[in-house]
Amino acid sequence: MKWIGLIAVIFTGGLLLSAMDDFPNWGDAHSPANSSPVSQYYIEQTMTDSGVPNMVTAVLADYRGYDTMFETVVVLIAGIAIMAILRVAKQVPGGAKPTPAHEVGDQHDIIIGTTCRLLIPVLQLFALYVIAHGHHSPGGGFQGGVILGASFILAAIAKGLDPALQRLPEKRYVKLAFVGVVIYVSFGVACLILGENFLDYGVLHELLPTMSAEEARSHSMLGVEIGVAFTVSMIMFAIYANLASKGELEGGL
């Protein structure tokens, strides 16, 4: 098996490298991909179209917003899938379950507890900043969402899964994950209802008389990024909670 694998891999690698002489050189600004009208358009027109300087955000949430919507759905699917595979229905033999030995503060180090208490609010604040500031700097819904999710996970690691789940119970995080996608899709559907194509944010300026079409685009992008952040953060936590507890959502690591 090893040899077959090796041969297959070498063969594949050879195939991949065989096109090398046809490839653009490193850093070639005039390679077909880098000089194509599409990429030029993004660089030149993003500002005029929506006033968003971060092209990645603009392409992600506006020009190729359709992809991103499904990307969010992929995240949602990952969470749902893991729940569907791992989740075990809680056994409730006599109603109350025995109190776990590792209740809050029992076995957890005071240093870790305090650090986390200090760290988590900062983390979450930073997450919100990353989400909100995606228009101007690297960031956006996915990045911010992951940071937000990480803060919950940190809480779960530091204090145990059960207290974390008390703050953010299963029903709530699943609901919020769905709500994230709902937010995203509603922006698209709003455009649809106003008579334009799906995700054509420009038309949303009709909703607020003082807004221009560019502003509408810019704000809608922020809106969908918030939706993305909801889904991503909740699903990150869901994945952790399920994987860490073998789907029982109790005890944790």
């Binding site: 195939l15 991949l16 096109a19 002489d21 000089s35 358009y41 569907a84 989740r87 769905f178 194509n197």
Partner: protein
């Protein structure tokens, strides 16, 4: 509203999934009606799309309104071929959803909402793959459908469901990554992701480009893993046979078929047949592989003792049909392939629905457990027989006509081995299904003489017939199989409409080339 149909198909399904997720947690009885409603609407919209394509030609829908320059946004592009495949996908989804009715009642694990969310998203992913006009968007939707199917398969109760799902994940990821890499190579050389634009760029290239060749190989190999083409099919039988019935009923007919559709789309729209068939001596290899796939699939199907496994190997053979048909560089071969995508989806659905009913009602896993089924479950058998006849290729079912077109293509392009393999596989199918009929009709050990059972049987059948919610989809599938066959002239006309629109395969030219090769 009509111009928004393309997006509406997906939105209906997506909203369905979200609603099921949000409200299903409160009360899981709402899952089933919501799912069926969403899929019903999706089928209705697909019919609307087909109607519009027939009236007005190709639909181009620019998401976000980014139409100029082409390629900055994402385009949905629907011609008659996608419209037909889209209708197939949503219809199979609807039928299987109806079939899953009893799941709700029997489910003890409270995963029903999760199941339906994944189910709807799977159908959405497949529909999206079918209608998209953007190579990268296709990748995203491919992953949407793959991830959901991994999860649906892993939800199986059988211990082996998890191992099957794992190898499926590994193979599926390799396939998808190859596709992604192929798109990357294409992007490097052409600078766009829009399928039509890629095609234009390839046409505009001066001289051969090894990047495009490698991209092509990567994409096709990736898709072949996804569609379980012959040497790369190892993951399929376990994955499709250890999962719950309602999952296998939707995954088995659709996943491989949509894979084939994407391959056809790549050949027709992205690379263009002029380019694809410019080196016929290489593409002939694929027809040869298809011959091997057909024969190997058939022979392995013969060796199976489990019903679902047997059907799985038949899928491998059927994929061989379609790959061979597509690569023989002939108009009729391509027509046959596209027609067979639809026909085979419903044939496979019929097989797996019946297998699901047998499993549910009588616990049938192995073929020899089917004995006496004609007496015990005559109504189910009636539906099964229609599907089986289609698999064998008896007119007027659709199975006959797809073979007719494929063989015509093989004859015109001089692929006699392919024609032979197709006929042999029809005969093998005949043997396979009549073996089942025999067991179901005679029982495992028929009496030596017939004097013994001249009177009506005194022992009443033990097994009850299936629930109407299982029979209705089975019969609808059987009816569709017949209708597809009876109206194949019109369908082929529609398919040809798109093929002529692209002006890609001229029968005459390729006959000459095929003759040489």
């Amino acid at each position: 509203m009509a111009e928004q149909y393309p997006i509406l198909v997906l939105l209906v399904l997506l909203f369905g999934a979200l609603l099921v997720g949000l409200s299903g947690m409160a009360d899981r009885r709402v899952c089933f009606p919501l799912t069926v409603t969403a899929l019903g609407l999706a089928v209705a919209v697909s019919i609307g799309i087909l109607q519009r394509v027939m009236d007005g030609g190709v639909i181009r829908y620019f998401v976000g309104g980014w139409s100029r320059p082409v390629g900055i946004g994402i385009e949905l592009r629907i011609d008659t071929i996608n419209a037909l495949v889209l209708l197939t996908v949503t219809t199979v989804g609807l039928l299987t959803a109806i079939f899953s009715f009893r799941r709700v009642r029997d489910d003890k694990t409270e995963k029903t909402p999760l199941f339906y969310v994944l189910y709807l998203l799977l159908i959405m992913g497949l529909s999206g793959m079918v209608i998209t006009g953007d190579a990268f968007n296709l990748y995203v939707l491919l992953e949407v459908s793959s991830l959901t199917s991994y999860a649906l398969i892993a939800m199986g109760k059988s211990k082996r469901a998890a191992t099957a799902a794992f190898s499926y994940i590994i193979m599926g990821t390799i396939g998808a990554s190859f596709y992604l890499l192929g798109v990357g190579y294409l992007y490097l050389r052409t600078g766009t992701l829009n399928m039509m634009e890629i095609h234009q760029a390839i046409l505009a290239l001066d001289g051969p480009s090894s990047t495009i060749v490698v991209a092509f190989v990567l994409i096709i190999v990736g898709l072949m893993i996804k569609m379980a083409f012959f040497p790369l099919f190892g993951w399929l039988p376990n994955a499709y046979s250890y999962c719950p019935s309602s999952t296998s009923c939707v995954v088995a007919p659709l996943m491989t078929k949509v894979g084939v559709y994407v391959m056809v789309r790549m050949m027709l729209t992205v690379f263009g047949t002029e380019w694809v068939f410019s080196n016929l001596q290489y593409t002939q290899w694929l027809v040869g592989m298809a011959v091997v796939a057909i024969l190997a699939g058939s022979v392995m199907a013969l060796a199976q003792v489990e019903l679902k496994k047997m059907f799985c190997y038949l899928i491998v053979a059927e994929v061989g049909y379609m790959v061979g048909g597509a690569w023989m560089a002939n108009h009729w071969g391509m027509v046959g392939t596209i027609y067979h995508i639809m026909g085979d989806a419903f044939m496979t659905l019929c097989m797996f629905l019946a297998a699901g009913i047998f499993l549910k009602q009588a616990g049938v896993v192995r073929i020899d457990q089917l004995d006496g089924m004609f007496r015990k479950m005559p109504w189910t058998m009636a539906g099964f027989v229609v599907g089986a006849l289609a698999m064998i290729g008896i007119p007027p079912t659709c199975g006959f006509f797809s073979k007719l077109y494929l063989i015509r293509g093989g004859m015109e392009s001089g692929h006699w081995f392919y024609v032979g393999a197709l006929l042999i596989s029809s005969l093998v199918n005949a043997v396979l299904f009549f073996r089942i009929f025999e067991i179901a009709y005679f029982g495992k050990n028929p009496a030596e003489g017939h004097a013994a059972h001249h009177e009506e049987p005194s022992v009443q059948p033990v097994i009850k017939e299936a629930h109407p919610s299982s029979l209705i989809p089975l019969y609808l599938t059987a009816a569709i199989i017949l209708l597809l066959g009876l109206f194949n002239g019109q369908i082929v006309e529609l398919i040809e409409h798109s093929l002529n629109g692209v002006q890609v395969i001229g029968t005459e030219i390729l006959v000459e080339k095929g003759g040489q090769g």
